[in-house]
Every structure is written in structure tokens, then in C-alpha cells.
């Protein structure tokens, strides 16, 4: 078990190193001298040199990379080339917003998807199951920003029940927080619900064909009892992966939803930075997102090992 964890961790570190190096090359090396990007091609050599010294872009690239990664590790994301703001508190703030949105969206998705997907599998031969399956299939095809736009049209514009956008942090007032978070979380969660429903359905269908479920019934469990007591935990193993992968994809997908609802999350910050050509900010935000995605994958692997005794190798 310990050896396994160590090998997982080594892979994690290697992945993170390569991924950050890729980001560095893509955003710091390929676009050219950031000083020129910031000051323009007509800037005097002295001004450029001063800018480079100020932003620490005058050393060798490898040193710059190591310094940047070291900063990431210690929680120092650097200073924006454009606004000269300290990026760390800004990004930390935005991560919270996106994190809340994504987790709430996933919660909504799971609350819907697990029972609906299970029913769709159990009823897969009758009209109810086929209907649930068809609805989820259509749900998967709807882009989340369309759901967002339609939710705004209905609840904000027509009914006027909820605000059409903006953000209020929980500490500033729970009531307002909920009023603002509900629609974006719903937009993000509903499409995920459809996606995860399909995975739950196929996982449960697969489990229903397993021999051990028949054994459980032969012991005296009803079909439903066998499914609940023996099937769902087994079906949970693949579903955990899907949830991990989907949270990762929601982190990125939230970019669009944040745009629809004018939510000041990581995605909006990323898009603004792209708009400003604030490449260091882009570089750091992308790194944060990639690290989160990689960590999620790592946790999924770990969860696997905990859920499935077959993967725990004898020490």
C-alpha cells in the first residue's frame, strides 16, 4: 500500500513538472519577450531592460521557470505585468468562487443523477426507463450556456424571481449568496446531471449482469435488495472516476457559465487576462487549473484503491 502510494505520488510530481513546463513554454517562451509585449516594439532598450529587471524576466529561461514553479509551490503567483497587482490573493479569491459553483453544481448533478440513472437502468426494458434515458441523452446534447441563458430568460427576465447575474460571497450574506448562486449552479449542474445519469445507468446495467448479483438473490435477497446491498457499491467504483473527471471538466466549463452570469470566478479572470494580453496572469491561472485537474485525477486513482480491495496489492 505504501509503495503504491509512493509510486502514485512520484507520477503525480512528474506529471505536474511536465505540465507546468508545457505551460511555461507555451505562454512564456513562445510569445516572445514579455517586455516587448508589454511596452511595445518602440520602447527604448533602457525601458525594456528596466521592465525586465522589475519583472524578473532577464535571467536564463530555466531559472525563470524554476522561480515560477517555486512561487507556485509557495503560493506566490507573481505580479501582473499589466495591472501590477499581486496575483495570489486575486486568484485565491476567484478559486473560491469557482470552487463553490462547481461543487454546488456537482452536488445538484449527483442528487439527480444517481437515483435517475439507477432507475433508468432498472427499468431499461420498459417505457419509463427508455424515457429517462432519452431525456438524459437530450440533456447531454444541450450546452450548459444555453441552459444558463434560458434560466435567465425565465427566472430573471420574465418572472423576476432571481437576479440575472453577479455574485455575493457567503460571508456577505447567505440569503443573497443563495439568490445569486442558484441559477449558475443549476445551469452547470443540470447538464452534468444528464451526463452522469448516463454513466450511472450504464454502470448499474453492467452490474445487473454480474454473477454475484445473481448469487446475492440466490441467498434470499430480492432483486432490489441485491442491487442496493451489493450492486450500488460496485457500480460506485466507475462512477467515482466519472465524477472526478467531470469536476475537472466543470472547472473549465465554468468559464462559460461565469460569462453568462457575470460571476467573478477564475474563468472570468482568465478571459479578462487573455483580453488584456496579461500573459503572466494567464500562465498562472492556467497552471492553477491544470494543477487542480491533475490533483483530481490523482485523488480519483486513490479513491479507486480505497474502494476496490482488488487494487490493494498485498504488501
Amino acid at each position: 500500500m505504501a509503495r503504491q502510494l509512493a509510486s502514485h505520488l512520484a507520477q503525480l510530481v512528474a506529471t505536474l513538472l511536465v505540465a507546468t513546463a508545457a505551460i511555461f513554454v507555451l505562454l512564456r517562451v513562445l510569445p516572445g519577450d514579455p517586455a516587448v509585449v508589454a511596452l511595445g516594439i518602440e520602447a527604448s532598450p533602457e525601458a525594456l531592460a528596466a521592465w525586465r529587471a522589475e519583472h524578473g524576466t532577464d535571467g536564463p529561461l530555466v531559472a525563470q521557470y524554476l522561480e515560477w514553479v517555486g512561487g507556485l509551490l509557495t503560493g506566490d503567483l507573481g505580479t501582473s505585468y499589466v495591472t501590477s497587482q499581486d496575483l495570489t490573493p486575486l486568484v485565491a479569491d476567484r478559486v473560491q468562487v469557482t470552487g463553490i459553483l462547481v461543487l454546488l453544481g456537482m452536488l445538484i448533478a449527483l442528487v439527480v443523477a444517481v437515483p435517475v440513472g439507477t432507475l433508468a437502468a432498472v427499468w431499461h426494458r420498459n417505457a419509463g426507463g427508455v424515457t429517462l434515458s432519452a431525456v438524459s441523452q437530450v440533456g447531454v446534447a444541450v450546452p450548459n450556456f444555453l441552459v444558463g441563458v434560458l434560466l435567465v430568460a425565465l427566472f430573471a427576465v420574465r418572472l423576476g424571481w432571481l437576479p440575472s447575474g453577479g455574485w455575493v460571497a457567503p460571508v456577505e450574506g447567505l440569503g443573497e449568496f443563495w439568490r445569486h448562486v442558484l441559477l449558475p449552479a443549476l445551469a452547470l449542474g443540470s447538464v452534468q446531471a444528464a451526463i452522469i445519469t448516463r454513466y450511472v445507468r450504464s454502470a448499474v446495467l453492467e452490474i445487473m449482469r454480474e454473477d454475484f448479483l445473481r448469487t446475492a438473490r440466490a441467498k434470499g435477497l430480492t432483486f432490489t435488495g441485491a442491487l442496493v446491498r451489493h450492486g450500488l457499491r460496485n457500480a460506485g467504483v466507475p462512477i467515482v472516476t466519472v465524477v472526478g473527471v467531470q469536476i475537472a471538466s466543470m472547472l473549465i466549463g465554468a468559464v462559460v457559465i461565469e460569462r453568462v452570469f457575470a460571476v467573478p470566478g477564475l474563468g472570468s479572470l482568465l478571459l479578462d487576462s487573455v483580453g488584456n494580453r496579461d500573459l503572466l496572469a494567464v500562465q498562472s491561472i492556467v497552471a492553477v487549473l491544470v494543477v487542480l485537474v491533475v490533483l483530481l485525477n490523482f485523488l480519483v486513482d486513490l479513491a479507486y484503491t480505497l474502494l476496490d480491495p482488488r487494487l490493494r496489492r498485498a504488501s
Binding site: 430480492t222 487573455v274 498485498a314
Partner: protein, 900 residues
């Protein structure tokens, strides 16, 4: 990354007959596929039409009124500039399809070769490729598009490239797992044995077999690309205006929500239709191409179908059957009252296919009844119907009675049956490897049987430990997970569960078929003892007549869902009435081979001394061979000093149970694996052990082991070996490439010129003739060449495999468990065919089997293997009649003998 599929797929012993799958769906059009194809066609046609015609110019303001709702003039209204929305949606399909095609194209063109390479080469390169794709996985397409947009500017090209790169891992993974599956198959092993190169294997076997899954991935990824493109356009990072794009239309509509909702709805629906279309198409393709589903029509094996080919075994038209007798019919006078009483049981699928017709049988208290039949005969269905465990889409009519339980079990419903199952009526299943919940300790699984029927947790736990001890499991077994136990041990757990509540009747469905012979013997003894102790009735389902003769008192013979004969075992076996029973009995008795003088290497002295030192030159010499490989960091000693010699023309048998190393030895002899040390000379080719690097690159089935270039034989030498030695594999379902015609399969070894002897066929027409001649020799019709493997029964497939092995006229034929996956009645035919072909083509035969009886029937010399060693070898008759080693004796005595 952990691959869940690798864990989920347990090792299935192909020796166990396939559980008859139930075909409940009418073949024909697949609704998802059709709807998906129609929607995709709609999008494609729209895009094509919009190239030459749209109602209005989508990029220019035309209407007098801005933002009108849908109407006759503008079907979907116009936007804020007065542009026609319908025309814009039509034109928007172009960008959608363009981005999808390019993105999927990039991902497939890069990802598939990477995946195939990783799958075929394995080792470091494969691991490196897959790590790379893992890292790419951290950059989803959308994020990549934003990043690339930041550096190179947003636009259609950036979006396409980013989405394409982002999808490479998905394709690489699908291609790799498909490739790994193909590479593990026996048909690839056969192609290697026929000396086909890696490129030929990739082109002829790997690519055709993974094409389906790659196609599915294309469709699914197309949907993802459409969604992502819409999202990028929505963010203003996609196609720049004025080119119409669905995502940007949606984004622009936001300002007019509540005023002109159609501006959002129309492009939204367009996106959804396209995505839905590609998703449905992908799902439909997956279902249609899924080998598990397409295999349904052919995996039912039936002796009669062997001569018919084509359709699945079928009982016959349902109308011709006698109508079920009234359930309330007076019970025949029968003493004592049966514990289990099945009367006029019929089972049909929802679409009317009959699986069982009017089956009547009973088990008296304490009586042991055997239910005999070959695969597809409906014996499992009988058991499942009695326990109320029939699969979906199958219905039973008739009467099932249980002593002490009023009424018909078939009428009790799931809840009522659950109360009886495990309590009064219990069952042991065929496949111990998958019968237990992998996530639960076995003690709890046994205890659950008791808590379900009223026991308290404490007593149940205590009793479970006692039961596990009673079935012979070591202390502490209760705390084990199923995967920590062997197949035999798991079956003991299942037996403990089934007997936990002292049921009146135990139904055992092929409970020992998947087990080794000696384990089978212990298991049978245990089962009989425990059932007898408890006074329970036993319904014992098996294909093995010998087992029935040892376990049961009465026997019921089932053929195609109909009871053809029943009676006391002694009577039925001594004097069978029905023709089928007679045939089955004849086929089950494998008499020892009468060694003809021809094949004996010694013409001089007594047989024994001659065989100890063969005078005829040894065609195959194995000297003190060991084989050690690493599995999960642990050294596995598959062979530990094996020596044997096979003389030209000899029929040499190797007998052993699972894990004895017999298959490893066979692969080494065939040049498909390397010895760790020792010397192997096979058909004149010296197969030296490979260097460490090659040896450790893979397990016994590792793809690298074959390539032995350092220290091993040269490829020319391997070529010589492969021209001289050919193989027949155990599983006739896995050893033939499902996507090749039988003609192509049999001809494949001829495609390598090195395999063709001087006068052999070198032109296409000569090859065709050679194939026809071979098919004729193995007793297959000549029109078989144009058909596919799934159209043949198991026995016929094994004949095809034999034809493929012999088409190059090898000197040695190596057969690995060639009949263990076949039904009894077919088994004998195939064995006799092998024997007669060995005579006809002057073959040296090396036959590996777990069954001493099979070897005794075919071979004149035998080696008994256990734990990587040969414990005894000599003339078959001598080894069998006067075994010197204790294990040989145990093996012989454990082999069930048909007592007649």
C-alpha cells in the same frame, strides 16, 4: 492511471461452457443508430445546401423590421441587424462541421497510431506514450483553445487545432485498449506462430478489429467538438464575425432575452440537434459493433447445429409443442413427496423463442438427481426458473413445487421467492471467479445468507466461520476478499453460503466445471457429504456424464429444451433408450489408444527402454529448462527444470492442472516465449534462452518475448521453426479473427513465403486450392471459405483452426487443450480427427491437456506436470496403469470415470 476494465474482467476459464445467452431482442434496425444517423444527415445536408442556397444572405441585413418573432417571411425571425435567423443557422452548420471534422481528424490521425504503437509494443515506449497522453489529459480542449487563443489569437483555426489536440488522449486510449485486447487474442498468437510480421499483424488483425471502436470514438468526439466550438464562439474566442456561428448567435441573443427569446432558442436547438445526432450515432454504433452483442447468435453450442451452421440453436417452432398441461392436474402417485417437483415447465423468451418445453422432473428428499445436457440444452434455464432467477425477457410457465411450501413457485413473485431462496432452496453456480461480490469479505457474504433469513448478526458471523471451516477453508478465511482465494476456495465459499440455512434442495449448476480435476474431486466429495449430512435433495446440473455417474442416483437427460430420457443412473447408463443418450455415452467414453507399431521409435527392444532412450532422432528436445518471469514485482517460477524428448512421429501428451506450467512449456517449444535457462531444440532449431533484457520485457504472453534478437534464435531460424511447427489453441471462439473469412484465416500462414515448402502453393489460386484441400481434410464444406467464424459451431471452429495449422504441412502439431472448450459429443470427433490427420500427414503430435483421459485416448507417451516440473513420464499405458508418482495417482483417481 488505473485501468478499471483490467480489474473488472476476471479470468474466465474457457473450459467452462458459455452460459447460454438469451436472445430477447429482435435483430434489425437499431433505433438510436437510425435517429442519430438522420439527425447527423440533417446537419450535413443543411451545411451542404447552405453553401449554394439560403433563403436570405445570412451575413447581410435585409429585413425592414428588427427582431421580429418567427413568421411566414422569416421562419425563425431576424436578429438585431435584421439578418434572417434561419439563414444564419443554416450557414452556421458549415463552421460546426468544419471544426468537428478537422478536430476529430487531428485527434484520430495522431491518437490512433500512438495508441496502436503503445498497445503493440508495450514496455517502456508504451508506458511513455501513455504518460504523455495522461499529461495532455490535464489540458482539456476548451482550456487549450483559450491558451492558444491568448498566444496566437483566437479564431477558427486555433479552435480546431486546440480541440483536436485536446482529444488525442481519448483516441490514444481507445486505440491502445483495443489493441491490447487484440494482441492478447489467440488469433494473433496464431499469426505469430505462422511467422507473420508486426506490420502484417497490425494491418490484418489489429486495425480491422479496432476500427469499430475508433469509429464510435469519432462520433462521440465530434459531439464534444461541436459543443466546445459553440462554447468558444459564445466566449468570442471562436469564429470571428460576420461568419455565422451558432455559439456566437447565442451569445448575441443574451441582450434580447425577454424581448426576442427565439434568438437564443433557435441556435440552441441547432447545437443540441447536432450533438444529439452524433452522440446517438456513436451509441448506436457501439451497440451494433459490440462483440458481446453480436456474439449472442453464435455462442450457444449445440451438437446438431454443428452440421447445419448459421443460425443459433433453436428448439423448434413453438407451435408444434404440446400445450402445457393444466397446472392443477392431479399429482401422480409418488412416494415420497418430492422435495422439488417441476412439472410441465416451459420457458420462452418474450419474442417467442422456446428455451424449455414441458420439462418434468422431481427430486425426492435426500435424493441426488443429475440433469445432463450439452450447452444450449436449457439445463441452466431449468435451475434458474425453479429459483425465480430467470433473466429479463424470459418467462416460465408450468409448475414448480417445493415440499412444505404451498402453491406454485412460479406464481410467488420476487418477494415471495426471495424468502425461499437461500433458505429452503439454494444454488451453487458454475463460475466461482465471478459469483462473489468482489468488494465484500467472504465471511460477511456467508453470514448475510443467515441474517437475511432471521439470524442475528452475532450468531450469523459465528456460524459463518464454522461453515467456512466445514467446507475446508483455512482459519481466517472469513476475513478474506474473494480475489485472495483460488477458484476452488471461492466455490467452497459459495457452497457454504448455499448450505448455511440447511435447505431442502440444493441446485448445483456445473459447480466443478471451472475447477481442476483434483480440486473437482474434493469439491464433489465435499458436496455429496454435506448434502447427505443434511438430508437435502440435490439437483446436479452438468455436461459431464462421468461426474453424474459418481454423484447422482437418478439422471435426467435434456436435449434442446426437452427431456429425452430419465431414470436411475445405473439403468440409463447401462441401457440407454434414447438415441441421443446413446451417442452421448459413446462420446463420453474415451478408450485408451492402442499404440500402432508405426509411430514407435523403437523397433528393437521393449517399449519402455526404447522410450527412455529414443533411437529415432528427437524432433524436439527440452533440457533442464526453467522459465521465470516477473508479475507485479514478484518472481513467478513457471518452469523449474523440465526435460523431455519427443521423437519424430511420436504422439506426446502433457498432462497437468492449472499453474503446472504446461502452457508455458508449450509456448517455449513453439518459439513464442523464451526459456530463462536450459536448452530447447525444436524441429532442428536451437532456441537459446534470450538475454535478460528481452526476457524481462514481458510475461508469458508479453509481446516482446517473441522478438528475441539478442541471444535468442535469429529470425530466419524462427522462420524455419514456424514453418515446421504449428499450433491449435484451446478456445475456438478466441483463436479465429472474427473479421476474417474462413478462407483468409486458413490461408494466412501461406502468405509468408518462408512457410511454404518447395512444392507448396505460391500463387493466389494455388493457395485457394490448398485451403480447399485442407478444409476437406478436416471435414468442412468447401463453401466455408466465404463465411465468417461466428457462423460456425465450436467444434467446427476447432476444425478451422486445425486446417490453418496444417495448411503449411508442418512436421510438428502442437495442440493446447484442443477439446476442453467443446461439448462432449464434439470432443471425441475432434480428437479422432487430430489422430487421423497425424497419421495422414505424418505429424509429430504434442498435445497438452488437463484431462488424463484425453491424453490416453490420443497419445502413446505422456509427461505429467505439476508446479513447473515433470513429476513422471513414460508410455501412456504404463503411466496410467502403474503410476510411480503419488501425484499421478491422485490425478488419475480424481479423473471421473464413467461407471456403466
Amino acid at each position: 492511471m488505473t485501468d478499471p476494465a483490467a480489474v473488472a474482467v476476471g479470468h474466465l476459464d474457457p473450459r467452462s461452457p458459455v452460459v447460454e445467452p438469451v436472445e430477447t431482442r429482435r435483430p434489425g434496425v437499431h433505433p438510436q443508430l437510425v435517429i442519430g444517423a438522420v439527425l447527423v444527415a440533417l446537419v450535413v445536408v443543411t451545411a451542404l445546401v447552405s453553401l449554394v442556397w439560403t433563403p436570405y444572405d445570412p451575413e447581410h441585413a435585409g429585413a425592414e423590421r428588427l427582431l421580429p418573432p418567427p413568421g411566414a417571411e422569416h421562419w425563425f425571425g431576424t436578429d438585431r441587424f435584421g439578418r434572417d435567423v434561419f439563414s444564419q443557422v443554416m450557414a452556421g452548420a458549415q463552421i460546426t462541421l468544419l471544426v468537428g471534422v478537422v478536430a476529430v481528424g487531428i485527434a484520430a490521425v495522431v491518437g490512433v497510431p500512438l495508441g496502436v504503437l503503445a498497445g503493440m509494443r508495450g514496455g517502456r515506449l508504451g508506458a511513455l506514450l501513455m504518460r504523455g497522453s495522461d499529461i495532455l489529459l490535464a489540458f482539456p480542449g476548451l482550456l487549450l483553445a483559450i491558451v492558444l487563443g491568448a498566444v496566437y489569437g483566437a479564431g477558427t483555426v486555433t479552435a480546431m487545432v486546440a480541440l483536436g489536440i485536446g482529444s488525442i488522449p481519448a483516441f490514444a486510449r481507445v486505440a491502445r485498449s483495443g489493441t491490447l485486447q487484440v494482441m492478447r487474442s489467440d488469433y494473433v498468437l496464431a499469426a505469430r506462430a505462422a511467422n507473420r510480421g508486426e506490420l502484417a499483424i497490425a494491418a490484418r488483425h489489429v486495425l480491422p478489429n479496432i476500427a469499430g471502436t475508433v469509429l464510435v470514438q469519432c462520433s462521440v468526439n465530434f459531439a464534444i467538438a461541436v459543443l466546445a466550438e459553440a462554447g468558444l464562439s459564445f466566449l468570442g474566442l471562436g469564429t470571428p464575425p460576420p461568419t455565422p456561428s451558432w455559439g456566437r448567435m447565442l451569445q448575441e441573443s443574451q441582450q434580447f432575452l425577454g424581448v426576442a427569446d427565439h434568438l437564443a432558442i433557435v441556435p440552441g436547438v441547432a447545437i443540441a440537434v447536432a450533438v444529439l445526432g452524433f452522440n446517438l450515432l456513436g451509441d448506436g454504433l457501439r451497440d451494433v459493433l459490440d462483440p458481446r452483442l453480436s456474439a449472442v447468435s453464435s455462442s450457444g453450442e449445440d451438437p446438431k447445429a454443428a452440421s447445419q451452421t448459421g443460425s443459433a440453436p433453436q428448439v423448434g417452432p413453438a407451435e408444434t409443442w404440446p400445450a402445457p398441461v393444466d397446472k392443477a392436474a392431479p399429482r401422480e402417485a409418488q412416494e415420497p413427496t418430492p422435495a422439488l417437483d417441476v412439472r410441465h415447465l416451459s420457458v420462452r423468451t418474450d419474442i417467442g423463442r422456446a428455451l424449455l418445453a414441458d420439462v418434468t422432473l422431481s427430486v425426492a428428499p435426500g435424493e441426488r438427481v443429475g440433469l445432463i445436457g450439452e450447452s444450449g440444452s436449457g439445463k441452466t434455464m431449468t435451475a434458474l426458473a425453479a429459483l425465480g432467477l430467470l433473466p429479463d425477457g424470459v418467462r416460465a410457465t408450468g409448475h414448480v413445487g417445493l415440499a412444505g411450501v404451498p402453491g406454485n413457485l412460479l406464481d410467488r413473485g420476487e418477494r415471495g421467492m426471495a424468502g425461499l431462496r437461500g433458505e429452503a432452496l439454494s444454488m451453487v453456480f458454475q463460475e466461482p471467479m465471478t459469483a462473489l461480490n468482489p468488494l465484500m469479505r467472504v465471511g460477511r457474504q456467508v453470514a448475510e445468507t443467515m441474517t437475511l433469513h432471521g439470524a442475528t448478526r452475532g450468531t450469523a458471523t459465528e456460524r459463518a466461520a464454522e461453515l467456512l471451516a466445514e467446507v475446508g477453508l483455512p482459519d481466517g478465511a472469513a476475513r478474506r476478499y474473494p480475489h485472495e482465494l483460488s477458484g476452488g476456495q471461492r466455490q467452497r465459499v459459495v457452497l457454504a453460503m448455499a448450505l448455511a440455512n440447511d435447505p431442502a434442495v440444493l441446485v448445483a449448476d456445473e459447480p466443478t466445471t471451472a475447477l481442476d480435476v483434483t480440486v473437482q474431486r474434493q469439491m464433489l466429495d465435499l458436496m455429496v457429504r454435506l448434502v447427505r449430512d443434511r438430508g437435502a435433495g440435490l439437483l446436479f446440473i452438468t455436461h459431464d456424464l462421468a461426474v453424474v455417474s459418481q454423484v447422482c442416483e437418478r439422471v435426467v437427460v435434456l436435449l434442446d429444451g426437452v427431456v429425452v430420457e430419465e431414470g436411475p443412473v445405473a439403468e440409463v447408463f447401462a441401457d440407454p433408450q434414447h438415441d441421443y443418450t446413446k451417442r452421448l455415452l459413446a462420446a463420453s467414453t474415451l478408450e485408451p489408444r492402442v499404440a500402432p507399431p508405426r509411430a514407435e521409435p523403437s523397433l528393437a527392444g521393449p517399449v519402455e527402454t526404447a522410450l527412455a532412450t529414443p533411437i529415432a532422432p528427437a524432433l524436439l528436445r527440452v533440457e533442464d529448462v526453467t522459465r521465470t518471469y516477473r508479475s507485479r514485482g514478484q518472481a513467478v517460477h513457471a518452469l523449474q527444470g523440465v526435460s523431455l524428448e519427443v521423437a519424430e512421429g511420436q504422439r506426446f501428451g502433457i498432462v497437468g492442472e492449472s499453474g503446472s506450467g504446461k502452457s508455458t512449456l508449450l509456448r517455449i517449444v513453439a518459439g513464442l516465449d523464451h526459456a530463462t535457462s536450459g536448452r530447447v531444440v525444436s524441429a532442428g532449431v536451437d532456441l537459446n534462452p534470450a538475454s535478460d533484457a528481452v526476457r524481462d520485457a514481458g510475461g508469458p504472453r508479453g509481446t516482446r518475448g517473441v522478438r528475441g534478437t539478442r541471444g535468442g534464435p535469429t529470425s530466419a531460424e524462427l522462420g524455419d521453426l514456424r514453418a515446421a511447427l504449428q499450433l491449435v489453441f484451446q478456445d475456438p471462439y478466441g483463436s479465429l479473427d472474427p473479421r476474417m473469412t474462413v478462407g483468409d484465416i486458413v490461408a494466412e500462414p501461406l502468405l509468408n513465403p518462408a512457410n511454404v515448402r518447395d512444392a507448396g502453393p505460391r500463387t493466389a489460386s494455388a493457395r485457394r486450392d490448398a485451403v480447399r484441400e485442407m478444409l476437406d481434410a478436416v471435414g468442412l464444406p468447401l463453401d466455408a471459405t466465404e463465411r465468417y467464424p461466428h457462423q460456425f459451431s465450436g467444434g467446427q471452429r476447432q476444425r478451422i483452426a486445425i486446417a490453418r495449422a496444417l495448411v503449411c504441412r508442418p512436421r510438428i502439431l502442437v495442440a493446447d487443450e484442443p477439446v476442453s472448450a467443446l461439448d462432449v459429443s464434439v470432443r471425441r470427433q475432434v480428437l479422432d480427427l487430430l489422430a487421423s490427420l497425424a497419421d495422414e500427414y505424418a505429424l509429430t503430435l504434442l498435445l497438452v491437456s488437463h484431462d488424463l483421459g484425453v491424453v490416453r485416448h490420443v497419445c502413446d507417451h505422456v509427461a505429467v506436470m505439476r508446479d513447473g516440473r515433470i513429476v513422471e513420464q513414460g508410455p501412456t499405458a504404463q503411466v496410467y496403469d502403474t503410476p510411480q508418482h503419488e501425484y499421478t495417482r491422485r490425478l488419475r483417481d480424481a479423473t471421473p470415470l464413467l461407471v456403466r
